[in-house]
Symmetry: C2
Subunit: 659 residues, 2 copies
């Protein structure tokens, strides 16, 4: 009966309850027992594990339970004929199976778990009194059990569990499969971690594969002395690199849509599903505020106006926020960064330089933290369409911060001082730094956290004076609970650890692209780094961290736009670099008038290509109208359609039997 | 019973048969009588009109006939719930009505007419012998009647007729409504001429309205002397104009999608419907070759590879064609144009200049004709997805020709010789020329053609020695037959008269934008011209030409891309103009190295933004897969859906009755 069809049930969710000092005698009143019973009533398969410091309830669910929950949630799934329809338990045959043969993807399963766990309500006619460690809790009629227990601090956490069997398989076939270089079992990653993480690794893999070509070119440029041809080879390298980057970003889009066609993800739906653990229960991909939709129903004349006002207000709000961020970056961060770069340039002694860098690194930590918090606050005021859009908005803003922080010093050395030796030094430093230090930090920090938590648990027990031999963590679930979760170093509310991974990639891309002419072998550094990055990231996800909450969004999102922006930037910066490289004697003078006109031209070109992002091609009311219509259509006919799809399949099977 | 509900039937199609010398006695054998009977059998309302030189069969159809034809053609129409479903006569209520209250749009009606007229087949079991003017024609079993008669030259033409009532109404409310400036009855234009022409006029109207702002700015710049501020005002004007153009192109896209939401046009379907009169019967919007689709069905493993090969082959073919065109423009046309411009610059005498221009204009006619023919031939080898895509491909190629022809001389004066007075002269000349001459030519040429044809008919009759008084053209249909059709001056096979109209608009846009800094009042010229253009184009369509064959495509198509390309160009050219304007003493020197780097930068930026057009984001097989799936879905459920939509409406009506 189990979905996975491999023996025992697979427990995928863990609920953490503190271990009680006093065991309740009356089992019907004991909170933990009661919770287990309620879970069983809902349809879960439950296993209780008593750990050292906490108690754990592990949950699994058979297909029927998922089916019921999915039908209640009105989850839309892709059917065999390619249309997305609401799930119905009776017509399972009509829906496309996942690559691993199961009906629901991990993301959908997680959504169902959340719905079922947080949907337990007191339906009886009396208030129930529960006891926990001597405390009494009144479960009122109509109250949600889990919310109640969470507010009373009895349920400490609900978190997704690793599936040991699959995890070990992935560990072998993915994380420890070093000799494969860039190839990865993407389909298996998708079914274990969900679309977003699989897309990240597919992106990383393709990027690394593509990197090998400019890496080889860059290395030959460095190693072979071209003599008098040198003047021609460098611009050729520049043009090649830009063309390479342009082609990469376009071919990635193709690859992405090919992946989406392979995985049964409904492209429209799902942008908002299952990201936050606490019931984000908006089903449709684009949800205009409810009051607007009501107006839409009642008054067709007013609809357009109201929708347009809502659309433009939202856009202005976002514009204002972006302006605030950009303004504060330029006015606060830029002088700071420039001051550091200038001091670094001016100072003679290496020791003072080292001290300065330490102070700088310390200060920068605070600045990014503050910047991230401000961005998160600003975004809360925006009416972004869904969580993924909101996350994108945050990504743009925070990337602005990191962009300044990472590159402004390099720009200073490269463009203002024309100091190419310092530039190359800084580039090598940063690339090696990111290669060694970040990978080290990324992997050791979670492990240290985990060790510290383990130590604390032991320590507490010690204080209570229990026997020492018992301290082996026998239960795997407790170990997993102590592992840190996959979270971003900035703005945990809106983004998970993918933010850090993508940020690293984007900063690396900017570094190698924008200064390609100054230091061609950077591509080789990056390629080596990324080949390692694939495996260390995999290892981090599989061995060091908790299983992350799945996200349904199936594109790279804002990051691709950032990559494209970096390509644009690199066209301009490399041209400037070339000018300064060839103009060794400083003879090429640009009159201020000419410079002003050139700057104006570039700004206008930027606006030309940026404006279409600011104003979408389709007014919001047209979009809302269409969305309303299609959902209406699917609501009308989905049952009939489903029957004809799965019915058609059955007749086919019968035909086969007759033969 | 008539669709339009205004008294008599509206005859919309005319079939032309030469007038016979000998009237056949046996009516059952007479070809014309037989044809009329067959038309009546199909369900048409038929009227025969005997003209002076020809005989005409006018056809109208009641709603039932259209309904039957639409169901046979499996036309997809928008239903009340917004989904596009196959038409069914019984469920008329489920479909959205046109703005004028009829069920079918003019484009759909035309498609039905064609289907019915060309679908008459000899279904009887014997060969029929028809007589016409003494000639005997054998109508074989299973043969199409109209094709047979056309090949025998008995049916001379099938053409759409004007609807007198609506035409007169439009003439009053649109063509002769001068004082409205830019506002037009777009919905009525849509229901009379179809989407493509309505979109053209909506575009022209919006463009003209938007033009008023830079026109006012440009005029003030010309009239008021800013003194020392002059140096600041011109760049400000330039920036304003570019921003204006960028915003215009984006807001037009919004307007276009709003129009599509207002008219019940299915956005996906319809790109290929009803353009050519001779049955282009591909129903779906994107039709990969049949053999490919069959492979798709049988072998899912091979599908991707084959589709990808097909996709890339087509793309390479198009790329080769584009390369041929660009190469020949640069190698053949460019020297010719430059030679003319140079001679014009060098020659002193005005008379020789005039002669030179005459020779040039004569030569240019041939060049564009040849260029157009070569382009059409090249396009025939491309496997474009549908006729609209093919038309777009032609537009790009031919616009390349016209671009060179129109602007290269101006570039020569402006950029090479820095001769601003000649530049301004040329601009004024061209703008006035386009304003007066083109409008004159556009309207007088068709009228002259019409008059000549009338004269020829009279002349022939005269030779035959008939009485003179009879020569009044009494029948309106004969007059319409003699009117010229709405055809392009280039490549009649692929484009209709819209090509010329859009070309004029695009060339004007390029002229005013690319040299905005050299001659700001050009915008005012253009605005005045366009206000007139709206009415003269309307007059041309309503009074001078035959009713054009409707086209279903509902966007501006390739022209918007051309507009955006012109905006890009104008950023660069205006910057160059500004440099030369401010650098009066010629002091600003650009080193060749710097110039090379700048040119490289601009080329790379162009590639960055052009590449995404070359490689689409979605592989062809993903697209084909989805298209197959959605049509499959709609085929399964469309009847059920239709019933529930129109059934739902009925119950609503019953509820109202009960109240």
């Amino acid at each position: 009966m189990n979905e996975h069809g491999n023996g025992g049930p697979v427990f995928e969710i863990g609920v953490v309850i503190p271990r009680r000092a006093v065991q309740e005698k009356d089992e019907s009143c004991d909170c933990a027992c009661f919770l287990v019973k309620e879970f069983e009533k809902v349809g879960f398969i439950v296993e209780r594990v008593v750990g050292i410091a906490d108690e754990f309830i592990k949950l699994a669910a058979p297909l029927e339970t998922f089916g019921r929950a999915a039908a209640e949630l009105q989850i839309k799934k892709r059917t065999l004929i390619g249309m997305d329809l609401q799930f119905e338990v009776e017509e399972v045959e009509a829906f496309v199976k996942q690559p691993d043969g199961s009906v629901f993807s991990w993301c959908e399963r997680f959504q169902c778990y959340c719905h079922l766990i947080y949907g337990i309500v007191n339906n009886s006619k009396s208030v129930k009194t529960l006891k926990f460690d001597g405390k009494e809790i009144r479960w009122e009629i109509g109250e949600h059990l889990l919310q109640k227990l969470e507010s009373e601090n009895i349920v400490k956490q609900v978190f997704p569990l690793h599936d040991e069997k699959k995890r070990k398989k992935l560990l072998r076939s993915w994380a420890l499969h070093w000799w494969d270089l860039t190839s990865q079992p993407i389909d298996e990653i998708y079914s274990y971690y969900g679309a977003k993480i699989a897309i990240y690794f597919a992106f990383l893999g393709m990027f690394t594969r593509w990197l090998l070509f400019p890496a080889a070119f860059g290395l030959t440029l460095q190693l072979i002395d071209f003599g008098s041809l040198r003047l021609v080879v460098l611009p050729a390298f520049f043009i090649m690199v830009i063309l390479w980057a342009i082609m990469f970003s376009q071919f990635w889009k193709r690859k992405n849509s090919a992946l989406l066609a392979r995985w049964p993800i409904s492209s429209a739906v799902g942008a908002d599903q299952g990201y936050k653990i606490l019931g984000s229960r908006q089903a449709s991909s684009w949800q205009p505020p409810m009051e607007l939709l009501k107006v839409f129903e009642s008054d067709r004349a007013k609809e357009k106006e109201i929708f347009q006002r809502h659309e433009w207000l939202g856009r202005l709000m976002r514009f204002r926020n972006d302006a605030i961020i950009i303004f504060s970056i330029i006015c606060l961060q830029l002088p700071f960064e420039l001051a550091y770069a200038h001091l670094y340039e001016v100072l003679g002694s290496d020791i003072i330089k080292f001290g300065l860098t330490a102070v700088y690194l310390f200060a920068i930590q605070y600045i990014t933290k503050i910047g991230g918090k401000v961005s998160v606050k600003l975004i809360m005021n925006e009416n972004n369409e869904n969580t993924e859009k909101r996350a994108d908005s945050l990504i743009y803003k925070v990337f602005g911060l990191y962009f300044m922080q990472t590159y402004i010093g390099i720009f200073y050395h490269a463009l203002l001082h024309r100091n190419f030796s310092t530039l190359r030094q800084v580039l090598i430093q940063r690339l090696l730094l990111s290669e060694v230090l970040e990978n080290l930090l990324e992997n050791s920090l979670p492990y240290l956290k985990y060790s510290y938590k383990k130590y604390r648990v032991r320590h507490k027990k010690n204080e209570k004076g229990e026997v020492r031999e018992k301290f082996q963590f026998t239960s795997r679930v407790e170990k997993e609970y102590l592992k840190p979760s996959y979270s971003a170093s900035i703005g945990e509310e809106l983004e998970d650890g993918l933010f850090d991974d993508f940020l690293e990639l984007a900063l690396q891309f900017g570094m190698i692209m924008m200064f390609a002419c100054a230091f061609p072998p950077a591509f080789a550094f990056a390629a080596v780094n990324n080949v390692m990055e694939i495996r260390t990231d995999a290892l981090k996800l599989l061995a060091i961290l908790r299983r992350p909450v799945p996200r349904a969004a199936a594109t790279v999102g804002a990051w691709l736009n950032i990559f494209q922006f970096l390509i644009l930037m690199s066209i301009c910066t490399n041209c400037a670099l070339l000018v300064w490289l060839y103009d060794e004697e400083g003879k090429w003078k640009i009159e201020p008038g000419l410079a002003a006109i050139l700057i104006m031209e570039h700004v206008l070109l930027l606006i030309k290509f940026g404006f279409s992002r600011f104003v979408p091609e389709e007014p919001a009311w047209v979009r809302a109208n269409r969305a309303k219509h299609t959902t209406q259509a699917q609501d009308i006919c989905y049952k009939k359609l489903l029957r004809s799809i799965s019915g058609g399949d059955k007749t086919l099977e019968e035909d086969k039997k007759l033969e």
